[in-house]
Symmetry: C2
Subunit: 240 residues, 2 copies
DNA sequence: CGCGGGTTTGATCCCAGTCAAGTCCCGTGG
DNA sequence: CCACGGGACTTGACTGGGATCAAACCCGCG
Protein backbone atom coordinates (compact mmCIF):
# COMPACT_ATOMS: atom_id res chain seq x y z
CA UNK A 1 0.00 0.00 0.00
CA UNK A 2 0.95 3.64 -0.16
CA UNK A 3 3.15 3.25 -3.23
CA UNK A 4 3.35 6.96 -2.92
CA UNK A 5 4.17 8.18 -6.38
CA UNK A 6 3.03 11.59 -5.39
CA UNK A 7 5.98 11.88 -3.07
CA UNK A 8 8.16 12.47 -6.07
CA UNK A 9 5.96 15.25 -7.30
CA UNK A 10 8.16 17.98 -5.98
CA UNK A 11 10.26 17.43 -9.05
CA UNK A 12 7.35 18.56 -11.12
CA UNK A 13 7.61 21.41 -13.60
CA UNK A 14 7.40 24.90 -12.14
CA UNK A 15 9.02 23.76 -8.94
CA UNK A 16 12.50 24.85 -8.17
CA UNK A 17 15.00 24.92 -9.51
CA UNK A 18 13.18 26.83 -12.21
CA UNK A 19 14.08 26.02 -15.79
CA UNK A 20 15.48 28.74 -17.98
CA UNK A 21 12.18 28.73 -19.79
CA UNK A 22 10.27 29.18 -16.56
CA UNK A 23 12.43 32.08 -15.53
CA UNK A 24 12.00 33.81 -18.87
CA UNK A 25 8.28 33.37 -18.60
CA UNK A 26 8.19 34.68 -15.08
CA UNK A 27 10.12 37.72 -16.08
CA UNK A 28 7.50 38.58 -18.64
CA UNK A 29 4.55 37.77 -16.49
CA UNK A 30 5.55 39.09 -13.12
CA UNK A 31 4.65 42.37 -11.55
CA UNK A 32 7.78 42.90 -9.50
CA UNK A 33 9.64 41.59 -6.52
CA UNK A 34 8.72 41.84 -2.88
CA UNK A 35 11.09 41.83 0.07
CA UNK A 36 9.72 40.55 3.33
CA UNK A 37 11.90 40.81 6.42
CA UNK A 38 11.83 38.04 8.98
CA UNK A 39 8.80 38.21 11.25
CA UNK A 40 6.72 40.37 8.92
CA UNK A 41 3.42 39.12 7.58
CA UNK A 42 2.71 39.39 3.88
CA UNK A 43 -1.04 39.01 4.12
CA UNK A 44 -3.62 37.87 6.60
CA UNK A 45 -6.12 35.09 6.48
CA UNK A 46 -9.25 36.44 4.81
CA UNK A 47 -7.52 39.35 3.07
CA UNK A 48 -8.65 40.19 -0.40
CA UNK A 49 -5.63 39.32 -2.49
CA UNK A 50 -4.85 41.02 -5.76
CA UNK A 51 -1.48 39.38 -6.02
CA UNK A 52 0.13 36.01 -5.61
CA UNK A 53 3.76 35.05 -5.34
CA UNK A 54 6.45 32.51 -5.80
CA UNK A 55 9.21 32.42 -3.27
CA UNK A 56 12.66 33.14 -4.63
CA UNK A 57 14.50 32.81 -1.34
CA UNK A 58 13.87 32.60 2.37
CA UNK A 59 11.39 30.61 4.38
CA UNK A 60 8.08 31.29 6.03
CA UNK A 61 4.89 29.74 7.28
CA UNK A 62 1.22 29.81 6.43
CA UNK A 63 -1.00 29.89 9.49
CA UNK A 64 -4.55 30.33 10.68
CA UNK A 65 -5.88 31.70 13.93
CA UNK A 66 -8.87 30.33 15.74
CA UNK A 67 -11.44 32.54 17.44
CA UNK A 68 -10.36 31.14 20.81
CA UNK A 69 -6.83 32.41 20.35
CA UNK A 70 -5.12 29.27 19.11
CA UNK A 71 -2.75 29.42 16.18
CA UNK A 72 -2.21 26.64 13.68
CA UNK A 73 0.58 26.55 11.14
CA UNK A 74 -0.81 25.05 7.98
CA UNK A 75 2.54 24.47 6.34
CA UNK A 76 6.07 25.73 6.01
CA UNK A 77 6.95 27.38 2.72
CA UNK A 78 10.24 27.24 0.88
CA UNK A 79 11.88 28.71 -2.19
CA UNK A 80 9.97 27.58 -5.24
CA UNK A 81 6.61 27.42 -3.51
CA UNK A 82 3.64 29.47 -4.63
CA UNK A 83 1.73 31.39 -2.02
CA UNK A 84 -1.51 33.27 -2.21
CA UNK A 85 -2.67 31.48 -5.32
CA UNK A 86 -5.77 30.07 -3.67
CA UNK A 87 -6.47 33.47 -2.22
CA UNK A 88 -6.18 35.07 -5.62
CA UNK A 89 -8.40 32.53 -7.25
CA UNK A 90 -11.17 32.64 -4.69
CA UNK A 91 -10.80 36.22 -3.53
CA UNK A 92 -9.82 35.66 0.10
CA UNK A 93 -6.56 34.34 1.49
CA UNK A 94 -7.04 30.99 3.15
CA UNK A 95 -4.23 31.56 5.63
CA UNK A 96 -1.85 34.27 6.73
CA UNK A 97 1.74 34.23 5.54
CA UNK A 98 4.56 35.21 7.85
CA UNK A 99 8.25 35.24 7.04
CA UNK A 100 10.47 33.19 9.32
CA UNK A 101 13.63 34.49 7.68
CA UNK A 102 14.07 37.37 5.26
CA UNK A 103 12.27 36.46 2.08
CA UNK A 104 12.36 37.53 -1.54
CA UNK A 105 9.22 36.91 -3.52
CA UNK A 106 8.26 37.24 -7.14
CA UNK A 107 4.91 38.99 -7.40
CA UNK A 108 2.17 38.38 -9.95
CA UNK A 109 -1.05 40.25 -10.46
CA UNK A 110 -4.22 38.36 -9.97
CA UNK A 111 -5.77 40.13 -12.90
CA UNK A 112 -3.41 38.43 -15.29
CA UNK A 113 -4.61 35.00 -14.30
CA UNK A 114 -7.42 35.17 -16.83
CA UNK A 115 -4.94 36.05 -19.52
CA UNK A 116 -2.74 33.15 -18.45
CA UNK A 117 -5.58 30.69 -18.67
CA UNK A 118 -6.69 32.05 -22.03
CA UNK A 119 -3.31 32.13 -23.74
CA UNK A 120 -1.09 29.61 -21.96
CA UNK A 121 -3.04 26.46 -21.28
CA UNK A 122 0.10 24.59 -20.32
CA UNK A 123 1.05 27.09 -17.68
CA UNK A 124 -2.51 27.15 -16.44
CA UNK A 125 -2.40 23.41 -16.13
CA UNK A 126 0.82 23.72 -14.17
CA UNK A 127 -0.99 25.96 -11.68
CA UNK A 128 -3.67 23.36 -11.23
CA UNK A 129 -0.96 20.77 -10.83
CA UNK A 130 0.55 22.83 -8.05
CA UNK A 131 -2.78 23.12 -6.32
CA UNK A 132 -3.20 19.36 -6.58
CA UNK A 133 0.21 18.70 -5.09
CA UNK A 134 -0.60 21.11 -2.30
CA UNK A 135 -3.71 19.17 -1.59
CA UNK A 136 -1.71 16.00 -1.31
CA UNK A 137 0.54 17.50 1.32
CA UNK A 138 -2.30 18.95 3.31
CA UNK A 139 -3.85 15.50 3.35
CA UNK A 140 -0.65 14.07 4.77
CA UNK A 141 -0.66 16.74 7.44
CA UNK A 142 -4.21 15.89 8.39
CA UNK A 143 -3.28 12.24 8.72
CA UNK A 144 -0.32 13.14 10.88
CA UNK A 145 -2.25 15.41 13.22
CA UNK A 146 -5.06 12.91 13.47
CA UNK A 147 -3.16 9.68 13.94
CA UNK A 148 0.39 10.16 15.16
CA UNK A 149 1.84 10.91 18.56
CA UNK A 150 4.27 13.67 19.42
CA UNK A 151 7.49 11.88 18.50
CA UNK A 152 6.05 10.64 15.22
CA UNK A 153 4.78 14.09 14.31
CA UNK A 154 8.12 15.67 14.96
CA UNK A 155 9.96 12.96 13.04
CA UNK A 156 7.59 13.44 10.14
CA UNK A 157 7.88 17.19 10.07
CA UNK A 158 11.61 17.36 10.53
CA UNK A 159 12.44 14.78 7.91
CA UNK A 160 10.03 16.39 5.46
CA UNK A 161 11.57 19.80 5.96
CA UNK A 162 15.06 18.40 5.85
CA UNK A 163 14.52 16.51 2.63
CA UNK A 164 12.81 19.42 0.97
CA UNK A 165 15.65 21.78 1.77
CA UNK A 166 18.20 19.18 0.73
CA UNK A 167 16.48 18.85 -2.64
CA UNK A 168 16.76 22.59 -3.00
CA UNK A 169 20.49 22.26 -2.53
CA UNK A 170 20.48 24.11 0.79
CA UNK A 171 22.01 21.23 2.70
CA UNK A 172 25.44 21.64 4.18
CA UNK A 173 27.13 18.46 5.32
CA UNK A 174 28.50 20.07 8.47
CA UNK A 175 25.67 22.29 9.64
CA UNK A 176 22.57 20.76 8.05
CA UNK A 177 19.86 22.97 6.59
CA UNK A 178 18.57 26.44 7.46
CA UNK A 179 15.72 26.30 9.94
CA UNK A 180 14.59 29.75 10.97
CA UNK A 181 11.51 28.57 12.86
CA UNK A 182 11.18 28.50 16.64
CA UNK A 183 10.08 25.51 18.65
CA UNK A 184 6.81 27.32 19.25
CA UNK A 185 6.24 27.29 15.47
CA UNK A 186 6.85 23.56 15.33
CA UNK A 187 4.45 23.13 18.22
CA UNK A 188 1.74 25.16 16.49
CA UNK A 189 2.33 23.26 13.26
CA UNK A 190 1.97 19.87 14.91
CA UNK A 191 -0.81 20.62 17.36
CA UNK A 192 1.43 20.14 20.39
CA UNK A 193 2.23 22.38 23.31
CA UNK A 194 5.55 24.18 23.32
CA UNK A 195 6.67 22.38 26.45
CA UNK A 196 5.91 18.94 25.15
CA UNK A 197 7.52 19.73 21.82
CA UNK A 198 10.65 20.74 23.60
CA UNK A 199 10.77 17.65 25.77
CA UNK A 200 10.19 15.35 22.85
CA UNK A 201 12.88 17.09 20.83
CA UNK A 202 15.15 16.63 23.82
CA UNK A 203 14.70 12.90 23.60
CA UNK A 204 15.78 12.91 19.95
CA UNK A 205 18.71 15.17 20.48
CA UNK A 206 21.20 12.41 19.88
CA UNK A 207 20.42 12.43 16.18
CA UNK A 208 18.63 15.72 15.43
CA UNK A 209 19.91 19.06 16.57
CA UNK A 210 18.12 22.35 16.38
CA UNK A 211 20.22 25.39 17.03
CA UNK A 212 21.36 28.70 15.67
CA UNK A 213 18.62 28.68 13.06
CA UNK A 214 19.78 25.39 11.59
CA UNK A 215 18.48 21.85 11.61
CA UNK A 216 21.09 19.14 11.69
CA UNK A 217 20.36 15.46 11.24
CA UNK A 218 23.01 12.83 11.84
CA UNK A 219 23.25 11.06 8.51
CA UNK A 220 22.39 8.44 7.60
CA UNK A 221 21.43 6.98 10.99
CA UNK A 222 19.55 10.11 11.86
CA UNK A 223 17.25 10.05 8.89
CA UNK A 224 16.53 6.36 9.20
CA UNK A 225 15.93 6.84 12.89
CA UNK A 226 13.42 9.54 12.05
CA UNK A 227 11.76 7.26 9.53
CA UNK A 228 11.47 4.52 12.12
CA UNK A 229 9.91 6.84 14.64
CA UNK A 230 7.60 8.27 12.03
CA UNK A 231 6.33 4.87 10.92
CA UNK A 232 6.88 2.32 13.63
CA UNK A 233 6.45 -1.33 12.71
CA UNK A 234 2.78 -2.23 12.71
CA UNK A 235 1.65 -3.28 16.16
CA UNK A 236 1.63 -7.03 16.25
CA UNK A 237 -2.00 -7.53 16.98
CA UNK A 238 -2.56 -10.68 19.04
CA UNK A 239 -3.75 -13.44 16.72
CA UNK A 240 -6.82 -13.87 18.77
CA UNK B 1 -10.08 38.86 12.26
CA UNK B 2 -11.21 35.86 10.30
CA UNK B 3 -13.67 37.79 8.16
CA UNK B 4 -13.95 34.51 6.41
CA UNK B 5 -15.24 35.36 2.97
CA UNK B 6 -14.16 31.99 1.78
CA UNK B 7 -16.87 30.41 3.86
CA UNK B 8 -19.36 31.54 1.28
CA UNK B 9 -17.41 29.96 -1.53
CA UNK B 10 -19.58 26.92 -1.75
CA UNK B 11 -21.91 29.02 -3.82
CA UNK B 12 -19.24 29.24 -6.45
CA UNK B 13 -19.83 28.24 -10.04
CA UNK B 14 -19.63 24.52 -10.81
CA UNK B 15 -20.91 23.62 -7.39
CA UNK B 16 -24.33 22.17 -7.04
CA UNK B 17 -26.94 22.81 -7.95
CA UNK B 18 -25.46 22.73 -11.40
CA UNK B 19 -26.64 25.35 -13.83
CA UNK B 20 -28.33 24.27 -17.02
CA UNK B 21 -25.22 25.36 -18.83
CA UNK B 22 -23.03 23.24 -16.58
CA UNK B 23 -25.20 20.21 -17.11
CA UNK B 24 -25.14 20.61 -20.87
CA UNK B 25 -21.39 20.91 -20.76
CA UNK B 26 -21.01 17.88 -18.56
CA UNK B 27 -23.14 15.87 -20.91
CA UNK B 28 -20.81 16.62 -23.76
CA UNK B 29 -17.64 16.17 -21.81
CA UNK B 30 -18.35 13.19 -19.66
CA UNK B 31 -17.42 9.63 -20.26
CA UNK B 32 -20.34 7.96 -18.55
CA UNK B 33 -21.86 7.35 -15.18
CA UNK B 34 -20.60 5.16 -12.39
CA UNK B 35 -22.68 3.48 -9.72
CA UNK B 36 -20.96 2.78 -6.44
CA UNK B 37 -22.86 0.78 -3.83
CA UNK B 38 -22.42 1.68 -0.16
CA UNK B 39 -19.21 0.39 1.31
CA UNK B 40 -17.44 -0.08 -2.02
CA UNK B 41 -14.24 1.78 -2.75
CA UNK B 42 -13.90 3.63 -6.04
CA UNK B 43 -10.13 3.92 -5.99
CA UNK B 44 -7.28 3.56 -3.54
CA UNK B 45 -4.70 6.01 -2.37
CA UNK B 46 -1.81 5.89 -4.79
CA UNK B 47 -3.81 4.39 -7.68
CA UNK B 48 -3.03 5.64 -11.13
CA UNK B 49 -6.22 7.44 -12.09
CA UNK B 50 -7.35 7.82 -15.66
CA UNK B 51 -10.67 9.24 -14.64
CA UNK B 52 -12.12 11.77 -12.28
CA UNK B 53 -15.69 12.31 -11.17
CA UNK B 54 -18.32 14.61 -9.89
CA UNK B 55 -20.81 13.21 -7.46
CA UNK B 56 -24.39 13.28 -8.64
CA UNK B 57 -25.91 11.69 -5.57
CA UNK B 58 -24.92 9.83 -2.43
CA UNK B 59 -22.19 10.44 0.08
CA UNK B 60 -18.76 9.05 0.75
CA UNK B 61 -15.42 9.76 2.31
CA UNK B 62 -11.85 10.25 1.22
CA UNK B 63 -9.36 8.57 3.51
CA UNK B 64 -5.73 7.64 3.89
CA UNK B 65 -4.12 4.75 5.71
CA UNK B 66 -0.94 4.98 7.70
CA UNK B 67 1.72 2.27 7.66
CA UNK B 68 1.01 1.57 11.33
CA UNK B 69 -2.57 0.64 10.58
CA UNK B 70 -4.30 3.92 11.44
CA UNK B 71 -6.95 5.32 9.14
CA UNK B 72 -7.63 9.01 8.66
CA UNK B 73 -10.66 10.39 6.88
CA UNK B 74 -9.54 13.43 4.95
CA UNK B 75 -13.02 14.71 4.23
CA UNK B 76 -16.59 13.75 3.60
CA UNK B 77 -17.83 14.17 0.06
CA UNK B 78 -21.28 15.21 -1.08
CA UNK B 79 -23.26 15.64 -4.27
CA UNK B 80 -21.61 18.32 -6.36
CA UNK B 81 -18.09 17.59 -5.15
CA UNK B 82 -15.32 16.58 -7.51
CA UNK B 83 -13.23 13.58 -6.60
CA UNK B 84 -10.09 12.21 -8.13
CA UNK B 85 -9.16 15.46 -9.81
CA UNK B 86 -5.88 15.80 -7.97
CA UNK B 87 -5.16 12.18 -8.71
CA UNK B 88 -5.83 12.73 -12.39
CA UNK B 89 -3.68 15.80 -12.54
CA UNK B 90 -0.69 14.37 -10.74
CA UNK B 91 -1.05 10.73 -11.72
CA UNK B 92 -1.65 9.17 -8.31
CA UNK B 93 -4.73 9.43 -6.13
CA UNK B 94 -4.00 11.31 -2.94
CA UNK B 95 -6.56 9.39 -0.94
CA UNK B 96 -8.92 6.45 -1.29
CA UNK B 97 -12.59 7.05 -1.90
CA UNK B 98 -15.22 4.87 -0.25
CA UNK B 99 -18.97 5.19 -0.59
CA UNK B 100 -20.89 5.57 2.64
CA UNK B 101 -24.23 5.33 0.88
CA UNK B 102 -25.00 4.25 -2.66
CA UNK B 103 -23.48 6.82 -4.97
CA UNK B 104 -23.96 7.91 -8.55
CA UNK B 105 -20.99 9.61 -10.16
CA UNK B 106 -20.41 11.35 -13.43
CA UNK B 107 -17.15 10.13 -14.94
CA UNK B 108 -14.65 12.14 -16.98
CA UNK B 109 -11.55 10.94 -18.76
CA UNK B 110 -8.30 12.34 -17.61
CA UNK B 111 -7.10 12.53 -21.19
CA UNK B 112 -9.62 15.20 -21.98
CA UNK B 113 -8.22 17.54 -19.38
CA UNK B 114 -5.67 18.88 -21.85
CA UNK B 115 -8.44 19.55 -24.34
CA UNK B 116 -10.41 21.32 -21.63
CA UNK B 117 -7.52 23.58 -20.72
CA UNK B 118 -6.81 24.32 -24.36
CA UNK B 119 -10.32 25.10 -25.48
CA UNK B 120 -12.27 26.15 -22.40
CA UNK B 121 -10.17 28.47 -20.29
CA UNK B 122 -13.16 29.40 -18.16
CA UNK B 123 -13.92 25.82 -17.27
CA UNK B 124 -10.27 25.20 -16.63
CA UNK B 125 -10.23 28.15 -14.28
CA UNK B 126 -13.25 26.72 -12.52
CA UNK B 127 -11.29 23.54 -11.87
CA UNK B 128 -8.51 25.52 -10.30
CA UNK B 129 -11.08 27.37 -8.29
CA UNK B 130 -12.39 24.09 -6.98
CA UNK B 131 -8.92 22.99 -6.02
CA UNK B 132 -8.42 26.28 -4.20
CA UNK B 133 -11.65 25.92 -2.28
CA UNK B 134 -10.65 22.40 -1.38
CA UNK B 135 -7.41 23.70 -0.01
CA UNK B 136 -9.30 26.13 2.16
CA UNK B 137 -11.31 23.38 3.73
CA UNK B 138 -8.34 21.14 4.30
CA UNK B 139 -6.68 24.03 6.08
CA UNK B 140 -9.69 24.35 8.37
CA UNK B 141 -9.50 20.66 9.09
CA UNK B 142 -5.85 20.96 10.00
CA UNK B 143 -6.63 23.78 12.38
CA UNK B 144 -9.39 21.76 13.97
CA UNK B 145 -7.30 18.63 14.46
CA UNK B 146 -4.41 20.66 15.78
CA UNK B 147 -6.17 23.05 18.12
CA UNK B 148 -9.58 21.86 19.21
CA UNK B 149 -10.71 19.31 21.76
CA UNK B 150 -13.12 16.47 21.19
CA UNK B 151 -16.36 18.38 21.74
CA UNK B 152 -15.21 21.27 19.56
CA UNK B 153 -14.14 18.93 16.78
CA UNK B 154 -17.46 17.16 16.77
CA UNK B 155 -19.38 20.42 16.85
CA UNK B 156 -17.31 21.70 13.96
CA UNK B 157 -17.72 18.59 11.85
CA UNK B 158 -21.41 18.09 12.51
CA UNK B 159 -22.40 21.66 11.83
CA UNK B 160 -20.29 21.74 8.70
CA UNK B 161 -21.87 18.58 7.38
CA UNK B 162 -25.33 19.71 8.39
CA UNK B 163 -25.03 23.08 6.73
CA UNK B 164 -23.58 21.63 3.59
CA UNK B 165 -26.39 19.14 3.22
CA UNK B 166 -28.95 21.80 4.04
CA UNK B 167 -27.55 23.98 1.25
CA UNK B 168 -28.00 21.06 -1.08
CA UNK B 169 -31.64 20.96 -0.14
CA UNK B 170 -31.37 17.59 1.59
CA UNK B 171 -32.62 18.89 4.91
CA UNK B 172 -35.91 17.65 6.25
CA UNK B 173 -37.38 19.62 9.10
CA UNK B 174 -38.48 16.53 10.96
CA UNK B 175 -35.63 14.10 10.43
CA UNK B 176 -32.66 16.33 9.65
CA UNK B 177 -30.17 15.36 6.95
CA UNK B 178 -28.91 12.02 5.62
CA UNK B 179 -25.82 10.86 7.49
CA UNK B 180 -24.72 7.43 6.31
CA UNK B 181 -21.43 7.46 8.24
CA UNK B 182 -20.74 5.44 11.38
CA UNK B 183 -19.36 6.86 14.58
CA UNK B 184 -16.09 5.12 13.76
CA UNK B 185 -15.90 7.24 10.60
CA UNK B 186 -16.40 10.40 12.59
CA UNK B 187 -13.71 9.25 14.99
CA UNK B 188 -11.25 8.59 12.17
CA UNK B 189 -12.10 11.94 10.61
CA UNK B 190 -11.47 13.86 13.81
CA UNK B 191 -8.49 11.96 15.16
CA UNK B 192 -10.41 10.64 18.14
CA UNK B 193 -11.00 7.13 19.41
CA UNK B 194 -14.35 5.54 18.75
CA UNK B 195 -15.08 5.28 22.44
CA UNK B 196 -14.36 8.89 23.19
CA UNK B 197 -16.32 10.01 20.15
CA UNK B 198 -19.29 8.08 21.37
CA UNK B 199 -19.11 9.46 24.89
CA UNK B 200 -18.75 13.01 23.67
CA UNK B 201 -21.68 12.59 21.30
CA UNK B 202 -23.63 11.27 24.23
CA UNK B 203 -23.10 14.51 26.09
CA UNK B 204 -24.51 16.49 23.16
CA UNK B 205 -27.46 14.23 22.62
CA UNK B 206 -29.90 16.80 23.91
CA UNK B 207 -29.49 18.84 20.76
CA UNK B 208 -27.88 16.56 18.16
CA UNK B 209 -29.13 13.12 17.38
CA UNK B 210 -27.48 10.53 15.23
CA UNK B 211 -29.60 7.57 14.31
CA UNK B 212 -30.95 5.52 11.47
CA UNK B 213 -28.50 7.06 9.04
CA UNK B 214 -29.69 10.58 9.77
CA UNK B 215 -28.28 13.56 11.59
CA UNK B 216 -30.79 15.70 13.40
CA UNK B 217 -30.00 19.04 14.99
CA UNK B 218 -32.52 20.80 17.18
CA UNK B 219 -33.05 24.12 15.44
CA UNK B 220 -32.19 26.82 16.04
CA UNK B 221 -30.84 26.23 19.55
CA UNK B 222 -28.95 23.18 18.37
CA UNK B 223 -26.95 24.93 15.70
CA UNK B 224 -26.10 27.86 17.91
CA UNK B 225 -25.15 25.45 20.68
CA UNK B 226 -22.83 23.73 18.24
CA UNK B 227 -21.35 27.05 17.23
CA UNK B 228 -20.72 27.93 20.85
CA UNK B 229 -18.99 24.65 21.53
CA UNK B 230 -16.98 24.95 18.35
CA UNK B 231 -15.74 28.45 19.14
CA UNK B 232 -15.99 29.07 22.84
CA UNK B 233 -15.55 32.64 24.00
CA UNK B 234 -11.89 33.53 24.10
CA UNK B 235 -10.38 32.58 27.42
CA UNK B 236 -10.27 35.72 29.48
CA UNK B 237 -6.55 35.81 29.99
CA UNK B 238 -5.71 37.45 33.32
CA UNK B 239 -4.73 41.02 32.65
CA UNK B 240 -1.42 40.41 34.25
C1' DC C 1 23.83 45.43 33.84
C1' DG C 2 19.13 44.62 33.18
C1' DC C 3 15.78 43.09 30.01
C1' DG C 4 13.10 40.24 26.86
C1' DG C 5 12.70 36.25 23.72
C1' DG C 6 13.66 31.78 23.20
C1' DT C 7 14.78 27.32 25.35
C1' DT C 8 14.89 23.78 29.33
C1' DT C 9 13.29 21.31 33.08
C1' DG C 10 10.30 19.76 36.96
C1' DA C 11 5.64 18.96 39.11
C1' DT C 12 0.89 18.30 38.63
C1' DC C 13 -3.49 17.42 36.37
C1' DC C 14 -6.85 15.97 33.07
C1' DC C 15 -8.47 14.79 28.45
C1' DA C 16 -8.71 11.17 25.75
C1' DG C 17 -6.89 6.39 24.62
C1' DT C 18 -7.30 1.53 25.82
C1' DC C 19 -9.44 -2.56 27.67
C1' DA C 20 -13.44 -4.98 28.62
C1' DA C 21 -18.29 -5.89 28.83
C1' DG C 22 -22.75 -5.43 27.60
C1' DT C 23 -26.86 -3.87 24.75
C1' DC C 24 -29.57 -3.33 20.67
C1' DC C 25 -30.75 -4.61 16.19
C1' DC C 26 -31.04 -7.03 12.14
C1' DG C 27 -30.30 -10.90 8.95
C1' DT C 28 -29.67 -15.95 8.47
C1' DG C 29 -30.67 -20.47 9.14
C1' DG C 30 -32.31 -24.38 11.83
C1' DC D 1 -40.51 -19.12 15.73
C1' DC D 2 -36.44 -18.83 17.99
C1' DA D 3 -31.32 -19.46 18.33
C1' DC D 4 -27.37 -17.62 16.74
C1' DG D 5 -23.95 -14.36 15.12
C1' DG D 6 -22.07 -10.21 13.74
C1' DG D 7 -22.01 -5.17 13.42
C1' DA D 8 -22.90 -0.82 15.42
C1' DC D 9 -23.50 1.60 19.53
C1' DT D 10 -22.98 2.25 24.89
C1' DT D 11 -20.99 2.34 29.24
C1' DG D 12 -17.62 1.75 33.06
C1' DA D 13 -12.83 1.33 34.95
C1' DC D 14 -8.18 2.24 34.35
C1' DT D 15 -4.07 4.46 32.35
C1' DG D 16 -1.04 7.51 30.16
C1' DG D 17 0.40 11.10 26.84
C1' DG D 18 0.45 15.50 26.60
C1' DA D 19 -1.43 20.12 28.53
C1' DT D 20 -0.70 23.42 32.03
C1' DC D 21 1.70 25.89 35.58
C1' DA D 22 5.89 27.58 37.28
C1' DA D 23 10.62 28.57 37.44
C1' DA D 24 15.15 28.71 35.72
C1' DC D 25 18.58 29.33 32.21
C1' DC D 26 20.89 31.28 28.26
C1' DC D 27 21.78 34.24 25.34
C1' DG D 28 22.22 38.88 22.39
C1' DC D 29 21.22 43.72 22.89
C1' DG D 30 20.39 48.49 24.30
Amino acid sequence: MHACDACRLRRAPLFTPFSADDLAFMRRFRDGEALLPAGRVLFHEGDRLDTFYTILSGQGARHKSLPNGGRQLVNFVFPGDMVGLAGSVTGAATASLTAASDMVLCRFRRGRLAELFATQPERAFALTWIAAVEEHFLGETIATLGQRNAAQRLAWALSKVYNRLAELGLEDAATGVPFPYRQADLADALGLSLVHTNKTLGRMRSFVQLSAGRLRVLNPPGLTALAMIEDPAPQRRPLL
